[in-house]
Symmetry: C3
Subunit: 656 residues, 3 copies
């Protein structure tokens, strides 16, 4: 895989959808817009293998020849998501089976353990890999498209699940213990009795459900890795990536990314959203591999599946692009080149209209590529280095989903409560797995980690003991890694480092709240309230109401060379802000006070840094620069207070 020379700007294109006569005009328009990379062959199985075993790559060869002649680089997608009709007609069971035994799904919902499906996937991927391994225009591959964990309940999955469990637990007794099958008398005596959690099971264990989600995620990872292995074997010089759905917690991105060169994701912001969701996902996908990721589909037109559809205001496409780059993307591919005419995606969703003429976003892309001419080649050598980690644990979310105890608890919202305060403080975070190396972070926030494995316990202990600062959120520590409860005082394995015991709690519906006093200020709290008994910890905040008034809500415990906070309350943003601001100060974290709606992040290398100020407001704002620098778009020196227009971007280069 060759290092790119600048930020890659490209688009998704379907030569199979348009007449050959049009190809040349499209390529010319691409060149004029500064587009350098195309993604092709995505969803083209019907054209690459029109009938079983009959392969036709000629049309794609022809297009690639034409495009590469004009300097365009090619990313090929394995066309697996949209299986051809002939395949499902011959093998209906390549489609996933639902919990009632019905073959049923929508686009891409194939069984990843179906042996027929695996045969056909392997064959077409092998054919493509062989055919394009030495095509100089091809720089890399996207495996499949927006993969999902499809919850398949077919017979092959049943067998695969048993094998997965045998690998995990070794013998049946281990499974019975881990799942606690004594509960409700569901002890297994033969492996054949172990089933998928299908609708006819009568009594489904929350541990079984968690393991089924793990198994499903692993099955999808295997499906991806089988394709990765084939392509690597023929084209080791090509990069391989996958484009993740934005927020899709059912698939473990850490595992999925293991064999990839980098990870990509598809970014479809809401016109009336703030940028927090997208930054949150950038900060996660960047951290998954610990290096530059791509946006493989950047929205540039109307939504196709939406209750409503706001017009995309002038400036937004450019702003979204710089937001991608600011958070670490080294490539931004627009979706899509020309508006589609068919089926469920008929909105004006391309840089071109249905009639082939440029839409407004086309000219914004042109502006971006012109601007990147000035500094893109330096920017590509920079990376985002975050001083803070926010723990993002897939297993944790699955465990809660397998056992939804409290309606008002929303994992993403809980993470975002902390994330949004970091945004306000101008602090960038990595969203990492609880087993990640935490030693480089000045602060680690672990909201609601109910399940703690020995490995996580050791990792957290090591981090804190060696001088780290760990903030544990409410509803933490009491569960085993199999979603059962530890036979110990709550918060279980986290009790010693936190220096507290959680004797009781309340989970409040919307209509109720309590309040706490922290640093002399009162805050209403709701959702989940842990009542802490401080053992070795200091009490930082106490409850004000009900029978547990005076008991501790937030604690701080010195542990080894470090410090562990337990924030036993949820649902108050101002509290989260004040708490994080105080801890950041204590930890000497650099804080940037920003106007609301301004997103700051920095890419740097050994010589310099680029700080991006993204103004999502429709009105101008002012920001104060920490030192003198250069506005690389305007190519002028800037210092002190600098204005940014509405929906505009300021990129300042600082020397080191």
């Amino acid at each position: 895989m060759k290092q790119a020379e600048t930020i890659s700007i490209g688009a998704g294109y379907y030569p199979d959808h348009w007449p050959r006569e049009r190809w040349h005009e499209d390529i010319n328009l691409m060149k004029e817009a500064g587009i350098k990379v195309l993604r092709l062959a995505e969803l083209s199985w019907s054209f690459l293998e029109p009938r079983e075993g009959e392969f036709d790559f000629a049309w794609l060869d022809d297009f690639i020849a034409l495009a590469s002649g004009e300097g365009l680089q090619i990313i090929l997608s394995t066309p697996i998501e949209a299986s051809p009709v002939w395949l499902r007609h011959k093998h209906p069971e390549v489609v996933r089976t639902d919990s009632f035994g019905r073959i049923h799904g929508d686009r891409g919902m194939h069984c990843h353990n179906n042996s027929d499906f695996i045969f056909y996937v392997n064959r077409i991927v092998t054919k493509m890999a062989k055919h394009y391994a030495n095509n100089p225009a091809v720089i890399g591959w996207q495996i499949d498209n927006e993969l999902r964990n499809v919850d398949c309940y077919c017979g092959e999955c049943q067998v695969a699940f048993r094998n997965w469990l045998k690998d995990r637990y070794g013998f049946l007794g281990g499974l019975n213990d881990a799942w606690g099958t004594c509960f409700w008398s569901q002890v297994y005596h033969e492996w054949d009795e172990v089933t998928l959690p299908s609708a006819d099971q009568l009594t489904i264990s929350v541990s079984q459900k968690l393991d089924f989600t793990r198994f499903g995620s692993d099955s999808t990872v295997n499906h991806l890795n089988r394709q990765v292995d084939i392509i690597r074997s023929y084209a080791p010089h090509h990069f391989i990536t996958h484009n993740m759905l934005g927020w899709y917690p059912k698939l473990n991105a850490y595992k999925l990314a293991e064999k990839l060169d980098f990870i990509s994701w598809d970014c479809y912001p809401h016109v009336d959203g703030d940028n927090n969701i997208e930054c949150f996902l950038h900060d996660h996908y960047r951290a998954v591999k610990g290096k530059g990721h791509w946006v493989m589909e950047q929205k540039n037109g109307y939504f196709n599946y939406s209750d409503y559809n706001l017009a995309i205001e002038p400036g937004l496409i450019r702003l979204w692009t710089y937001q991608d780059i600011a958070r670490g993307s080294d490539g931004v591919m627009y979706y899509r080149w020309r508006s589609n005419k068919y089926s469920g995606e008929q909105n004006p969703n391309g840089l071109l209209r249905h009639d082939g003429t440029p839409r407004r976003p086309y000219y914004e892309v042109q502006q971006v590529t012109n601007e990147l001419e000035k500094f893109g080649s330096e920017l590509i050598s920079t990376t985002v280095e975050a001083p803070v980690a926010l723990i993002y644990s897939y297993d944790q979310m699955w465990a809660f989903e397998a056992h939804v105890q409290y309606k008002n608890f929303d994992h993403r919202e809980h993470l975002l409560t902390y994330y949004r305060q970091l945004t306000r403080l101008g602090i960038t975070a990595d969203l990492v797995d609880p087993t990640a190396d935490l030693s480089k972070y000045k602060m680690v926030i672990a909201p609601s980690m109910a399940m703690i494995s020995d490995e996580i316990h050791a990792n957290f202990t090591s981090y804190a003991e060696n001088g780290g600062c760990l903030i544990i959120g409410a509803r933490s520590g009491m569960k085993t890694w199999s979603n059962t409860t530890h036979e110990m005082a709550w918060p279980g394995l986290l009790g010693e480092m936190a220096g507290v015991a959680v004797d009781e709690f309340e989970v409040l519906p919307d209509k109720y709240a309590n309040s706490i006093t922290y640093n002399g200020k009162d805050y209403p709290v709701k959702v989940w309230l842990d009542m802490l008994d401080t053992k070795t910890a200091e009490s930082l905040a106490t409850y004000n109401e009900k029978f547990y008034a005076g008991r501790t809500a937030i604690s701080k415990n010195n542990f080894g060379k470090g410090v562990v906070y337990y924030a036993g309350v949820m649902g108050n943003s101002e509290l989260a802000y004040d708490l994080l601001a105080d801890i950041a100060k204590e930890r000497n974290l650099s804080v940037t006070l920003l106007p609301a709606g301004v997103y700051v992040s920095t890419r740097s290398n050994e010589a310099c840094s680029y700080t991006f100020y993204i103004n999502i407001n429709r009105e101008p704002v002012h920001v104060i620069l920490p030192e003198d620098g250069v506005d690389v778009i305007q190519e002028k020196k800037v210092s002190g207070e600098v204005g940014i227009e509405g929906l505009d971007v300021l990129i300042v280069k600082f020397s080191k």
Copy 2:
């Protein structure tokens, strides 16, 4: 079919539900109420063919003999909707199969392509037609009951669907092109690969869904026509009709009505509704055949399937009856004669109580029949002539349903926005197909016609070029007749006649609005906003907010001898009223200014006209007559300002 001598007033009766000893008393009570027509044999299959192949018409013959002896006329229903238990017990597959392959439905949901069902239906209809063809009491037939498009996914429907598609597209390439199967790689290579859009299909095209609805509607029409053909062959002197559900857009009434003598519908107004829904449906079903229709079931009691049930206030039954007649009904049949004792319809829903004594509505019917004695025989020679057409396109609604792009868009509500303003202006409209002869209309309103076929394009062009006035609503013109997008600037085929291009749009959720200025007045607008570039058109209204402030929202284009408006906004009734009022004035349409809650319409012949003023208010109102006339109920001359009591009706005869 013999011309009726007066407005037909009747009721639905079930002699099979009551002891013979009671028949005579019922017939006497009917006569006293002025009831002249009975509908019989509806839902009586179990009694006409109690066991397979054993027919028993004796009980029905006896009742008809008794009733006709007392002067009652008979409409027979083919008893198909409620198939007998023995039939489903022997052939479970006569019931429709759902998209998951389950035999599943409720009353009447039979598969209209099932060969067994067709056999049994044809046989009993043949038997009845033969038996009653020469019974002098029988005047006509109702085919089946409230037919529905049942979305059947059985094997016979699969075969029939493929044949339907072969008829439509000729060869598979035509189908692939029309549906755009290149999208998501769903190209068909064999006819056998083409399936119904069942749940296991993985990727269902919105074009396929549209064609499936068309196919389902056609299947139901065929089911009806098979019965029509049988009856016609034996009893060509009898009329044949069908009773449509009120608002039921899944079945194309234009096609369904083709072989019928006239169309009927079942009218169940809400006590607290206004009359617009019912008038809207009258104006549609009248226009379907372009002549007098019937109300085959006029509600006269408590609802059976409702969240709540208001008492029917004194006067309402009579008011509903005159509303039916005022909009063109030549027959009104009450549902039902005596309140039913069984199963899901046990409310007091008859003109008689469960105990056989008259309920309050009985006496209102008696009043109506007494009044009609005075002028019914002249009224029957009159018809409603509407000066305006509102386009009501089934395919258009199905296309949107197959591809629900925007939650807040409701087809009926969108049509009603225009319809209600016509009511306020006292203008009667025909609700017609876009291919109907439009030349007789002074104004044609075509709200949201996204799909435009060449035939519709030619019809609209011809209408406008020859001096017509066409009002096109937002979200129009960009789609082919197969629910894909034209490769041309929006509004596609309507662009030239409208003289505009639609470059962008917004679809707003409830929380947002923009506003426009039209004729110096501001109007908030929402739902869908098209931003128009005027080419040859004049701008009548512009947007006030956001980046497209100043762009055109409503345009007017001279086209041939006519004029074409494009009203690119939705969701504001006052705007629709002002716009229609202005255009009506320009087109010299006669406008009647009415108090709210008063519904006016006119039946006329060459000699005279009858104008109905229906006051749905609970309080008295005054109306101003356009000239001197005769109040035909009070039998007195009236002129100038005339009062109408709450829930009362004024019918004025004007001479020509």
Copy 3:
């Protein structure tokens, strides 16, 4: 069955979930808390019969030996609810089949007519009964657990349903008549045509649905009785009970209790609920057998299946316990002893924590058992004698459920409207079947009895004629016992005793109301309003609005030596209170005026009475004693006005 010597206090325990080494410590902690009874073997089938036909009672024998050695008494549960995996693996069809033919359910949803299931159930129950019949520690049995009517649609249920119908209707003509199958032409000609109301039936009769619910309830009763018979045959000296779900109207408790010694129920109050629901259920389950019942599971920890989870405030566990006893419970078993670690019930839900140490509720239980030492042995000889009956008819609720006519009508809420006013008046009611002996009650309230059988008619007639006072609620009397309508004026069979005819009615949605005047005071009324024509009755209240203003809403009729009220309105608590207060006064019923949130009831024997004042308020209240008495907890004399702390209980003994 031996008479208990005091109120039994116990807990549910699972020796199969914890190591033997722990057993002794648990037993010691139980003794210290004053716990005397344990429920064992519930949900232990996997441990009692780990493989098909291999029985292992040794572990249970060992535990019982240890516990009984320390004086604990044992209730054994038949472990049927949680069938072992091996059984369902071998016989999947022991799980109920849903209306689409899918084997599908959750815990305990076994088919009660499945012959395999019956075989295995009978065998293990027989084994247990034989084995424990002569174990002196065992005092009784709980059959199964929280039984449900599972709506099974399997083949064996189909056959059983036909047999059930043959028993009920004798011949097919009787069935056709009772269900009114002439409606919609669904006449049966062969028994084989009669099916369960499965999803493919097309036309399901509301009478069929009602009978299906009756059949399902009877099937569950048979399932219970088979087990009762086995245990009785081996251990006639043991008591047998069943623990009902709290509010679970799908199972007829009167029939279920017939063969039991007493009935139990599982009481899980909401922390923020008032006590009315629990008192309502106590008053029902006490009345079902007409004697002391048990609470087999009294909540003592966090909910497991809840949208939210409030902490249980200090005092609530004790308060709930006394509330149980106050309403007639002779035994209270806490659920559960130690907090569970596995699957869906992992909250701190035990008297002990997960780590085995006592939680706060443990000490409240200790307080209760200490207090009961003083007066429990006398209390056990007392019973609750209610002066009023509230009719609670399962068939009635099923009939409405089979034919949900009006969304806003909620049976429980309708009963509770009356029940809550009795609470406010300090009057205790028995909730009894309409066929119960009513002669002992001073007042009988029968809200919404739409179906009246001849037996009920005779019972009501006899009660009223002999001097009773019957209050009939709206929507009553018009239906047969098969859920069809009588061919007579409404309120049907109740017309004569009520002295009214109901000619019309309104069923109002939330947005509408009418009002009535009763005793000079106006009350808004909604939901259902009957318009009464008084025949022999006197009008007590009339409507104020709409066309029926002035017509009667509430009537009073002298009938024989008694009086019958017809309260034709719903949905106003104040009206219900004033009406009941007036009638109570007229009937010389003793009324206790209480502060809101105080629940009073009395247990008495021939010598004395114990009156319980339960204060659910968080603040202190005062109550006024009717005479001098003894506070049996404080062991002091009390008289006049006495204070009760928040969440506290006052128990006063009065001598007779």
